[in-house]
């Protein structure tokens, strides 16, 4: 394959690779970090990567936002936008519930670090 072909392949898949990077970064933060607020932020990262995964294939190059108007013929796909609007709002509901749980855990244990909570449970 020549150089321009390889570069075009790179441009064609760059969105998907960034989505994967954001996704595994979110996964890493959720698994590796013991702080519960940090874990929830990792979960949000994971969620936003899914927004991008849905929206980017709906884009048509040279197209415009799916609002019907004179002078435009090429519109991007409205369906992924609708699905992700729902996902964003559900995502913030999940975050709010998770944070409420973290606040309760902090009241009960005096810490939001996973390791400290586990060691306290082992002592009991």
């Amino acid at each position: 394959m020549n150089l321009v072909g390889t570069l075009n392949e790179f441009v064609g898949h760059y969105n998907q690779w960034i989505v994967i990077f954001l996704m595994v970064a979110g996964l890493y933060v959720v698994v590796a970090r013991g702080n519960m607020i940090k874990k929830l932020i990792g979960l949000s990262l994971f969620q936003t990567s899914v927004y991008l995964l849905y929206i980017s294939p709906g884009k048509l190059l040279g197209g415009t936002a799916p609002i019907i108007a004179e002078g435009f013929t090429v519109y991007s796909d409205p369906l992924p936008h609708v699905l992700i609007l729902t996902a964003i709002v559900v995502g913030v509901a999940t975050l709010a519930l998770g944070l409420a749980l973290v606040v309760r855990i902090n009241e009960a244990y005096g810490t939001i670090e996973e390791d400290e909570i586990f060691s306290r449970n082992d002592q009991d």
Partner: protein, 194 residues
């Protein structure tokens, strides 16, 4: 319709913004001060909203800027106020999570090689979109296809979404109310058992 090539300005602009997102993600994962992490997450959401505008998803961009950068940041800062700002140093090794994340990422990247290119108009995801675009003005009179699809054609999704938010709201209220009662027990009435 243009293909995604290195000479397409839209694709290149999009790539530059996405690179910024990746850099911010690295910062969010590394930083230990949680206040800083929340600020970075807010910047991340604004950058994500900009990417969504470039990808023609203006309604989603608006929601992401208000909900992702606004409401989420307020919720996170409130939670930080009630807990604490610094993250403790991890006691366990982070090698295993890194390995799991790396392997997952590698498998997913391998999977993308068969996926359609960015901006390809022939890919299967575009099977239903043109139908909604054609029907929106004659059937509903709404020029914005996202609005008409959300409220008219897929109204049940929105009903389900509202149910989820309602449930989450009640759960948050119940959790936080229990907390205040535990802190100030009335005479003769102990706190709830955990």
């Amino acid at each position: 319709m243009a293909e995604a090539t290195i000479f397409n300005a839209e694709a290149l602009f999009n790539m530059a913004l996405l690179t910024g997102l990746a850099v911010l993600t690295f910062g969010i994962a590394r930083l230990r001060n949680l206040f800083g992490v929340v600020v970075l997450a807010s910047i991340y959401s604004f950058l994500m909203a900009t990417v969504l505008v470039v990808l023609d998803a203006v309604d989603v961009a608006m929601t992401e800027a208000s909900v992702g950068a606004g409401v989420s940041a307020v919720l996170l800062l409130s939670a930080l106020h009630l807990t604490r700002m610094e993250e403790a140093k991890p006691m366990r090794s982070t090698l295993l999570p890194l390995f799991v994340a790396g392997v997952t990422g590698a498998v997913l990247v391998w999977g993308t090689l068969d996926l359609p290119d960015f901006g390809d108009p022939t890919q299967p995801i575009h099977a239903a979109g043109p139908d909604y675009l054609e029907r929106t003005v004659p059937e509903t009179g709404i020029a914005n296809a996202v609005t008409s699809t959300l409220a008219s054609y897929r109204g049940f999704d929105t009903l389900g979404e509202t149910t989820v938010i309602f449930t989450a709201g009640i759960a948050v209220l119940v959790l936080l109310k229990r907390g205040t009662r535990r802190r100030n027990p009335k005479p003769g009435e102990g706190g709830d058992a955990l």
